[in-house]
Symmetry: C2
Subunit: 93 residues, 2 copies
C-alpha cells in the first residue's frame, strides 16, 4: 500500500473527500484506502457509500477494519485511546 | 441473526453500549451485532474496540459492513440518504 492512493478524512465537508476518492479512481488507481480516526469515522463511511452509489458504480468496499491508537493528550500529560478506521475500496474486476 | 444479541448505538454515553455488549457476551451469546446509523457510527467502532481491548479479551471483530438507507426528512418532504453500519463481534473459538 502506498500513501498515494490513501485519502485521510478530516474536518472538511464530506464531498471534498468523495471528490478526492473519485479523482484517485479516475486517475488510474484500482484501489483506494480511506482512513479516519475518532469522530471522522462516520464521515469515512459516508464517503465510501457516496462514492460507490453515485460516482464510481464499479467500485466496492472490500475491507473495513478498526484499531485503537494512543495519541498524546493536548495540554495534558499521558495519552488517550482513539479508534482508527480504514476502508479499502476496489474496482470490481 | 436475532434481535436479542444486537446492540443499537444511540445518543447515550459510549460506556452504556460497551456494558450492553459485555452483558450479551457474559449471558452466553457467542456473537453480538453492533448497529448504528449516521454520526453514531464512530461510537459503534469505539464500543467494539473498547469491548475487545478492555472487557472481553477473547472477542474479536469478524465483520464490518455499511449500507445506505433512505430515511424520511423531519419536517420536510422526501427522504435523505443515511449511512448504516454493522459490526459483528464473536468470541474466538
Amino acid at each position: 500500500m502506498s500513501e498515494e492512493n490513501t485519502v485521510y478524512i478530516g474536518k472538511k465537508e464530506t464531498m471534498n473527500y468523495v471528490m478526492a476518492v473519485v479523482t484517485q479512481f479516475n486517475s488510474g488507481s484500482n484501489e483506494v484506502y480511506i482512513k479516519a480516526r475518532g469522530r471522522a469515522i462516520s464521515k469515512a463511511v459516508d464517503v465510501a457509500e457516496i462514492t460507490k452509489n453515485r460516482f464510481v458504480q464499479d467500485a466496492e468496499i472490500v475491507e473495513m477494519k478498526s484499531d485503537t491508537e494512543q495519541v498524546p493528550r493536548t495540554g495534558e500529560e499521558g495519552t488517550a485511546n482513539v479508534s482508527s478506521f480504514e476502508i479499502l475500496m476496489k474496482r470490481k474486476e
